[in-house]
């Protein structure tokens, strides 16, 4: 709206153009992640209550007040629930904001969603110009009109400026390297003058390991670059229509940041540019995981998100009364005199609080009934939850319809999904996720999809499962109901990071310790700056990434492949294919392959049971005869052949001493089978001639053979000479 007014003040054709352009937004009502599982199996994330109001209402209310006139809500997982909700909510009849829904079941990522919207729009021509792209879990109160104006003006000056990204200052913890919203730390580089985004890197690793790498061209083209670590990506983007077509063109773009932003910054085919806009005083955050759920809830209670706070009506919520110390209480709450409701707490309508309860820093939904002597700290109790006497709940999320029987304890970080029943005196261990639904057995892929479970009709399955549950008993005590989800591997140590519970002290100490250890190591691996330091660094650099080590793995792999080939009688050509692929994946030279294959062959010979040296010689020569094709593929060059001889020598000295006495004989076999050429043997002999006596053992062994070779070649030469004559 503000933008329109501004537009009106401008030149006439300008304002006309702008008044035609309605301010539009695309709201993705699906995060395409599984961070809120198991809760999101039964209800879409955007409808989860955040301080007793569904998240999508925060987003819509903000968009409406920021002057957006038309919102396209893209629904995927649980789309019917979202559409039903929007149909019944007051957004349907809102005077200033038209809410349209787009439904798709095929989309598995934000990229798919935008492609779908792009395809649809040609029919109805929905997106007309610049639009705001947000997800349905955004809580913000930032003004958009000026920003859109800024974006449009920039676009006018520079055709290629297709997106403006909103960032906000937020310093990640020095120890855990995650922001207060529980997201990974972010490294972005921005041009200080134009605010153009130059580099975007989300740190997936736990600690601040290693380094940020800026492309050299970046430094060449910009005299000055600002690199931020203390910025948070708000996932609020002002996009030009090109963004949609870019997604359409690049069908492999899935993630907005990981693929799209990276693609624009790195590939740079079209020279498109992304700009950033830093917001100062206004609020913007996205509920990305349980930790940000906790953080954003607290921010709402602390009124950082004003006017979207519990005591003000926005988007159809029932305001509750704000008392002292930030206690919000609905008017019909029944509270016992002996109950203590502490600071920063919200209690919803129709909730009963029993004798001797202590409720601190928590949000209690509507229609809950809480028994006597219950302790609730830092927790989020949704609607119609029944908590019986003597329970203790700390830093937990308890969904609708849950029943917690007397004396049960929820340890920090617990999430109880819908209608779970916790048995009497049962202790739910820390960080457990409990649901009536069983944990899906197979994870389809890492970018896993919520819709896959939802589309097949959750309700039916739910009833079926709960029936099954009764017969089977429960993991939550004899009178409980629900499955405790197992933490999948790898994510185990992540659990504490994204939980509602604060990070425990011992974990912090552990990380600090780990950091120290790492730092000590890191110093050694730092690349020396000037050329003179090479020697020094080499001696220190016994890092994990040592190329020698790599070769060790490669050798093992080759050996495995070779043995399999022998056992299964695989053809030589196929063997070559397999070893080639190994070579590529380990980035090895073909000389390395030759060495490794020869090593495997000899090892096989030695490992084959044999009683005497002559028997060993026979086995070895038969193996060479059989597999010379495979070896021959990698020994086309003299250098590679020398590598084979060296390898052989090394083996004789170290791993397979039995072969020692047979060195000359086997070398002869190799020569006869054309695996090694005369040149290679002569050059090896030359190289070795200058070595220590100890190293010459095998050379001496071969002396007669080499002598013979020499004579033969001389004769040949003489023959040639004679012929020439």
């Amino acid at each position: 709206m503000g933008a329109q007014k501004k537009g009106g003040a401008r030149v006439s054709d300008d304002s006309e153009e702008q008044s035609r352009q309605r301010l539009q937004a695309i709201l993705l009502a699906d995060s395409f992640t599984t961070k809120f599982r198991p809760v999101t199996l039964e209800r879409p994330k955007v409808l989860l209550p955040l301080v007793n109001v569904p998240m999508i209402d925060y987003t819509l209310a903000w968009l409406e007040s920021a002057g957006i006139e038309e919102v396209f809500v893209f629904c995927c997982a649980h789309s019917t629930q979202i559409i039903d909700y929007l149909e019944t909510s007051e957004w349907r009849t809102h005077p200033n904001l038209v809410v349209r829904t787009i439904e798709s079941h095929k989309s598995i990522s934000a990229g798919d969603a935008l492609r779908y919207i792009y395809e649809q729009q040609t029919e109805t021509s929905q997106i007309q110009g610049d639009f705001v792209l947000v997800s349905g879990d955004t809580v913000s109160n930032m003004p958009l009109a000026d920003l859109i104006q800024e974006h449009r003006e920039r676009k006018k000056r520079d055709e290629k400026a297709i997106m403006t990204m909103v960032i906000k200052k937020s310093k990640p913890s020095l120890i855990t390297h995650q922001s207060r919203l529980g997201t990974d730390q972010l490294f972005i580089a921005v041009d200080p003058l134009t605010k153009q985004l130059l580099h975007y890197e989300e740190d997936k690793v736990d600690h601040a390991r290693g380094s940020v790498c800026l492309d050299k061209s970046l430094m060449e083209s910009n005299p000055s670059v600002l690199l931020y670590n203390d910025m948070q990506d708000c996932y609020i983007d002002i996009c030009s229509p090109e963004v949609l077509s870019l997604f359409e063109d690049n069908f492999d773009y899935q993630h907005l940041r990981r693929h799209f932003v990276k693609g624009v910054l790195v590939d740079d085919i079209m020279g498109y540019k992304i700009f950033t806009h830093e917001i100062g005083s206004s609020y913007a955050a996205r509920v990305d995981n349980f930790r940000s759920y906790d953080t954003v809830s607290k921010d709402i209670i602390q009124r950082w998100t004003y006017p979207y706070v519990p005591d003000i009506n926005f988007g159809g919520n029932r305001p509750v009364k704000l008392g002292r110390q930030g206690i919000y209480r609905a008017c019909d709450v029944v509270q016992s005199r002996s109950a203590v409701v502490g600071a920063s707490t919200v209690v919803g309508y129709g909730t009963k609080i029993g004798n001797g309860d202590r409720i601190l820093n928590s949000v209690i939904g509507n229609g809950c009934s809480i028994g006597s002597n219950v302790v609730i700290e830092g927790s989020y109790i949704w609607n119609n939850v029944t908590i019986e006497d003597g329970c203790e709940i700390r830093n937990a999320i308890v969904c609708d319809g849950v029943r917690i029987r007397a004396g049960a304890v929820l340890e920090p970080g617990v999430v109880l999904s819908f209608k779970v029943v916790v048995g009497r005196d049962f202790v739910v261990p820390a960080y457990s996720k409990v649901s009536l639904l069983q944990q899906p057995m197979k994870e389809d892929s890492d970018e896993e999809l919520e819709y896959a479970d939802s589309s097949s009709g959750t309700a039916d399955r739910l009833s079926g499962l709960s029936l099954e549950m009764e017969s089977k008993g429960s993991e939550l005590g004899p009178d409980g109901a629900g499955y405790i989800w197992e933490v999948c591997e790898g994510a185990h140590d992540e659990e504490w990071k994204h939980s509602v519970a604060p990070i425990p002290e011992d974990k912090l100490a552990e990380i600090t310790q780990a950091m120290d250890d790492y730092d000590d190591m890191e110093d050694e691996s730092v690349v020396p700056t000037s050329g003179e330091l090479k020697s020094d660094a080499d001696s220190i650099n016994t890092d994990v990434n040592d190329p020698c080590d790599d070769y060790g793995y490669f050798e093992k792999e080759v050996e495995g492949t070779f043995l399999r080939a022998v056992e299964e009688g695989i053809k030589v050509e196929l063997g070559v294919l397999e070893i080639n692929s190994l070579r590529l994946s380990y980035n090895m030279e073909s000389a390395d392959c030759a060495g490794a294959i020869f090593y495997s062959m000899m090892k096989l010979a030695v490992d084959t049971p044999h009683s005497s040296a002559s028997e060993l010689y026979k086995t070895a020569s038969s193996i060479i005869a059989k597999w010379k094709g495979l070896l021959g593929f990698y020994v086309k060059q003299t250098d590679e052949q020398i590598e084979v001889i060296m390898k052989f020598e090394e083996m004789c000295q170290e791993t397979a001493k039995e072969l020692g006495p047979l060195f000359a004989q086997i070398l002869h076999v190799l020569y006869e089978k054309d695996v090694v050429q005369e040149d290679a043997i002569m050059r090896w002999a030359e190289e070795k001639a200058g070595a220590d006596e100890a190293d010459k053992v095998y050379l001496q062994q071969c002396e007669t053979f080499i002598q013979w070779l020499k004579e033969a070649s001389e004769e040949e030469d003489e023959d040639d000479d004679e012929e020439e004559d």
Partner: protein, 498 residues
């Protein structure tokens, strides 16, 4: 003892507080009275001038008689500019380090004749090709002050080294480097003014990472590293939160080091050769887990026989008061977040863009400096220019119809014949130039002889060289004492006896 200490402290406060102001005023002459008395400055800083030797980059300009430090810039040795600069900051206790005994003798001879009365200068000879770090190691036993100011002997600049020293003391830094904007003459012209190597570089010389207050150095890449992708350590970035990476600043080879830190590094890392490429990046890299700092304590304690070390505590407090008036530096925050950590600070002093700073380390730079000192940056020369923006020594003789244009210099006792034309050039003392000679954009050193009808453009004629008649030179260098035969036309050549 105590009273002296207090006096030092007060002085130091005065210096730190007023130094920036003085800088703004930018008048060398005014600084003196506000500055410390000589005895106190000696206590704080020792100055090491790295004067180099017979740099191969500058062949054939340098010779047995003229090592790099004595190359003339507007008819004065380049070293004299550095000495004047230091004197203007009242830094008078100097050690001039020269590579090679011969060069040291020559430089020492000049110094004793030129400024023995004003400055206290020691000349130390070190082996050739030991690098800057090696040179410092060789003279380590001369270093006794708490902080060491290291200045390259080939700098022609008007940036006050005192300002660098003040910044260093204010932050109680381990190292402070001076940065200035890229030379105005432009990268295309001035060749490799950045690194040690002679190879021409692309537009950027150094890549430098600064914190948001532009006081601390968080990253530095120099030399060959510049051509690679920039890799920034996350731990430092995380601690600082925000880093500004600049490629339009150049490290100008004036450093202040804490002596203990410098000596510790040189001892621990025997392979380090170059201050700029090894020592400085190492200190920057390790600033959040300092090896040198922890050892430094021990070193300081051992050396506590010196009175000056007693003021260390005072220093700590005062530096906090002065530098961290409102916010603790990120080093402090980092230390407090993770106890056990030791950090050291790497600071920068960024010179104002209007300041001039060029190193004379290539032939191109030699030409540029000479041109600038009698041209755009003529306040550096110390001469007063005539109304025609040139300097013609009264004893010089000009023939009829000879013109000497603006931005020219004609030395004592030189003779120029008839119908000559001199433009934007420096001509040394006692040169003899014939008639119909054209000298443009060139440097002619003392006692050179130029025959009739010569044309010299963009060239350097060293002392005692002789050009016979009708020689045409363009972008050439003529070695000292060399004779170029008559009538030749040369372009881009170097004349030297092999």
């Amino acid at each position: 003892m105590i009273s002296e200490r207090l006096y030092t402290f007060a002085d130091f406060v005065c210096k730190t507080l007023f130094e920036p102001l003085i800088n703004l005023i930018d008048d060398k002459k005014k600084k003196k009275p506000l500055f410390l008395s000589p005895s106190n400055s000696e206590m704080d800083f020792q100055v090491v001038i790295l004067a180099g030797g017979f740099s191969s980059n500058l062949a054939p300009l340098v010779s047995k008689e003229v090592p790099k430090a004595l190359l003339p810039v507007a008819n004065r040795p380049v070293l004299s500019y550095v000495l004047d600069l230091l004197e203007s900051s009242n830094l008078k206790d100097l050690i001039v380090v020269v590579e090679g005994e011969d060069a040291a003798l020559t430089v020492g001879g000049w110094i004793s004749s030129a400024c023995v009365d004003r400055l206290h200068v020691e000349v130390a000879a070190v082996a050739e090709n030991v690098g800057t770090a090696g040179a410092l190691k060789a003279i380590a036993h001369h270093l006794t002050a708490k902080d060491i100011l290291i200045v390259s002997g080939d700098i022609v600049s008007d940036i006050s080294p005192g300002a660098v020293a003040a910044t260093h003391t204010r932050h109680d830094a381990a190292v402070t480097a001076m940065l200035c904007a890229e030379p105005v003459s432009g990268p295309a012209e001035s060749g490799g003014a950045g690194g040690k190597d002679k190879i021409k570089k692309p537009a950027c010389y150094d890549i430098i990472g600064l914190d948001s207050s532009k006081q601390f150095l968080l990253y530095i890449a120099t030399g060959v590293e510049v051509k690679r992708d920039t890799r920034l350590k996350k731990s430092i970035l995380c601690a600082a939160g925000k880093m500004e990476i600049r490629s339009d600043l150049v490290d100008s080879h004036i450093y202040a080091f804490k002596r203990s830190v410098l000596q510790e590094v040189l001892e621990q890392k025997p392979t380090f050769r170059c201050l700029k490429q090894d020592v400085l990046p190492y200190l920057v890299r390790t600033q959040l887990r300092s090896d040198v700092f922890s050892d430094e304590k021990a070193v300081e304690e051992n050396g506590s026989g010196h009175g000056k070390n007693n003021m260390q505590n005072n220093d700590g407090v005062s530096s906090q008061i002065l530098s961290n008036a409102f916010l603790p530096s990120f080093h402090k925050v980092y230390e407090s977040g993770l106890d056990i950590r030791k950090t050291h600070k790497c600071c920068v002093y960024i010179a104002d863009e209007s300041k001039y700073c060029v190193r004379l380390n290539s032939i191109q730079a030699f030409m540029d400096v000479n041109r600038d000192v009698i041209g755009d940056a003529n306040h550096l020369s110390g001469y007063s220019f005539s109304a025609h923006h040139n300097i013609v020594h009264p004893s010089a003789e000009l023939g009829s119809k000879t013109t000497v244009g603006p931005h020219c210099m004609l030395g004592e006792g030189s003779q120029v014949g008839d119908k000559c034309n001199v433009k934007r050039s420096v001509i040394g003392r006692h040169c003899r130039i014939g008639s119909n000679v054209k000298v443009v954009n060139s440097v002619v050193m003392d006692h050179a002889t130029i025959g009739d009808g010569c044309s010299i453009q963009g060239s350097v004629i060293c002392s005692n060289a002789q050009l016979q008649e009708r020689v045409a030179l363009r972008d050439c260098q003529v070695e000292a004492g060399y004779v170029v035969f008559a009538g030749g036309e040369h372009k881009g050549e170097t004349f030297a006896r092999k």
